[in-house]
């Protein structure tokens, strides 16, 4: 694993989650839609060995015509909306609800797609990092924000994801940036707890 300023190279074989997200992200990119992968899958992508079935993807807002094209591309690619028909993609996203995309007739694994809605979603979209895998490139939200956000979520598995990302990306982390997000999210005590576990 090699880190540069805005890029990470991970030369690992793809698993079923990687293949799903590479395919769905490829369709987003082909339609020129900005996206950022966030939350638990980011830790898994960096090697955290834990079970997960959902891949959270934030996108910039797009119009109904783009949503319809995307739905059509996904159907052609062998996917369906596992919680609602893909035809309802725009209405669902515009209602600030996520759209779950999975291989046809399956519910897991799935990509949970939603429009960016708050300042942290926007920060993820504006500061993406390219992760280069042997089979393609994925865009993830900044690792510093993922750590702070995980600390804010509060569950034990989220705290453990934060610890893992903090450890594995240690040398590449921008500590000033991390502390800025920690302060914005008001998770100073949790951050101190994370550092104290070392």
């Amino acid at each position: 694993m090699e880190f540069t300023d805005d890029e990470v190279v991970i030369d690992k074989p793809a698993n079923d989650l990687d293949r799903l997200v590479l395919d769905v992200a490829g369709i987003l990119e082909a339609l020129d839609v900005r996206y950022a992968i966030v939350s638990g899958y980011v830790a898994v992508l960096f090697g955290r060995a834990r079970a997960t079935e959902d891949i959270d993807v934030i996108t910039e807002r797009f119009d109904e015509a783009t949503a319809n094209r995307r739905a059509s591309e996904l159907r052609d690619g062998g996917y369906w909306g596992s919680a609602m028909p893909l035809d309802e993609m725009y209405a669902t996203l515009a209602d600030d609800r996520p759209v779950r995309v999975a291989e046809k007739d399956h519910r897991v694994p799935n990509v949970e797609l939603k429009f960016g809605s708050d300042q942290y979603d926007r920060a993820s979209l504006e500061n993406t990092i390219a992760v280069n895998l042997p089979d393609g490139t994925l865009l993830i939200g900044s690792i510093e924000l993922q750590i702070a956000y995980k600390l804010d979520m509060g569950a034990q598995k989220d705290f453990e994801d934060a610890i893992y990302l903090y450890e594995v990306a240690e040398e590449a982390l921008n500590n000033r940036e991390l502390e800025r997000f920690v302060s914005q999210l008001g998770v100073g005590a949790e951050y101190e707890r994370l550092k104290a576990t070392r």
Binding site: K12, G47, R50, R100, E160, I163, Y164
Partner: protein
């Protein structure tokens, strides 16, 4: 010592051990070739996904749960 205190202590010890394991694994990932740790993670992840797929159709889908909750809220609001 009460049973609940003993249980709390046991959970705290388990959490500490998990954190140690997570840190050790992160160190392993940092210091070994990607292909090495990648294969190990993929074995765990792919088998977990296969197992989840065996039961995926027995689960209620999130959208019908949401509708059921909204219906309950409407009913209780009368």
């Amino acid at each position: 010592m009460s049973d609940s205190k003993r249980l709390d202590d046991k959970h705290a010890r388990n959490r500490e051990q998990r954190v140690v394991q997570i840190r050790e694994w992160a160190k392993y990932v940092r210091t070994h070739p990607d292909e090495d740790w990648g294969k190990q993670v993929n074995r765990i992840l792919n088998s977990q996904l296969q197992s989840a797929r065996h039961f995926e159709h027995d689960r209620p889908d999130p959208e019908s749960l949401r509708h059921a909750l909204l219906r309950d809220e409407d009913d209780s609001g009368d």
